[in-house]
Symmetry: C2
């Protein structure tokens, strides 16, 4: 007993699709017949890879190509797609042959992940690029927010180190250049220096560690504003 594919399309694009047949095809596993979702999956997989590439490029203006590739791989993989497919209850809409269904095919990661990609391909063919992109951004909103949060939770020294490593540059040197104030209210001034191009900046704080983090934050800002 499968749910109405039109309802799924409504949930994804806000109105009925132009071609319900395309949406039905995207939900048809190859076990259910020759008109199945394999070709649409090929298209949807490629579109998804591109749309996520663009989002990551915008959200991480400082990230290297290798870094972007790694981030995309954590967002777009079988497990991650199956999780999104489950949140959409995609399993309820799938058409599989009775054998595949009995063996739990509608709940398998690979089947769910393929169907989600096929659905993305179908929505592109039905609605065009802009709406398919919007739909992708909506269903990936939570995963994208998670990636951004993970980034924000990293401290500035870690982020600076990763930024430099991604560009095969030498690591920064931190040096305390001044300690001022009384014992219970000391202030530290730290210089962060990049040995390979001699660039320097200062940070200060109530501990050496805080001053280092601040100098790293400033250095990152300097590096990324010229990029």
């Amino acid at each position: 007993m499968t749910s109405d594919p039109k309802r799924l399309a409504m949930a994804l694009i806000g109105h009925p699709p132009d071609s319900l047949a395309l949406i039905e095809q995207a939900l048809t596993h190859r076990s259910a017949g020759p008109v199945n979702n394999e070709r649409l999956e090929f298209l949807g997989d490629a579109l998804l890879g591109f749309v996520i590439a663009e989002v990551l490029l915008q959200r991480f203006p400082e990230a290297s190509e290798g870094d972007l590739t790694r981030r995309r791989a954590t967002l777009v993989n079988r497990e991650a797609l199956a999780k999104i497919a489950r949140a959409l209850n995609l399993g309820d809409y799938l058409r599989l042959d009775s054998g595949a269904l009995r063996s739990g095919g509608h709940a398998r990661d690979s089947v769910l992940s393929d169907a989600l990609e096929a659905l993305i391909g179908a929505i592109y063919l039905d609605q065009g690029f802009a709406r398919a992109k919007q739909m992708i951004l909506e269903v990936f909103a939570e995963s994208l927010a998670d990636v951004a949060n993970q980034e924000a939770r990293k401290d500035p020294k870690t982020r600076l180190q990763e930024w430099l490593q991604a560009r095969r540059r030498t690591l920064p040197e931190y040096e305390v250049t001044a300690v001022t104030g009384e014992q219970h209210a000391q202030r530290f001034e730290v210089r962060c220096r990049l040995p390979d191009d001699g660039r320097e900046c200062l940070g200060d704080g109530s501990s050496r560690r805080r001053a280092e983090q601040q100098s790293a934050e400033t250095m990152l800002a300097l590096l990324t504003e010229t990029n």
Copy 2:
């Protein structure tokens, strides 16, 4: 001495780009500085993969997912992209540091292929999806025509066999069902049968081989019209 990037953009999109800086960045090898084409290449690579996926899906309505993947790999790879880059004289526009230039970097397949992908990414950011897609179709027109011609040169029995293999189906059986006419003007009638679903059709011709080919052609038409 590098040629004017604006001229290249004119040749590719028919008018000056909105941001010449983006085009320049796409033409800048990582050896020439921190603002280089690596991030744009990440974007262009993904867009190219998607656009070629869509074209192949349209041009080969009978092809399986695996078949489409293989075709795309023959169109989009380092050597194929470098060939297109050379036809555009991309090497003349590249910015590399003097060491990379002296060692012939501007003529290397990897450098040319990366720059072409970066250029595709830059044109997408500058001009939007529809124009970037158009530009890709134009520069790939010849390669796409080659792929279509290779297909047309294959005989119907080969194409039927590939179609069935791609779907993991059993191979067709051919049987001569009638031979008519006098010795110097014989006609052969051949039946093509698919053992797994029992579908049959007939072909005829002035030789057994011609009759088989005709039956295979008819079978392919039957299979793909219901797909």
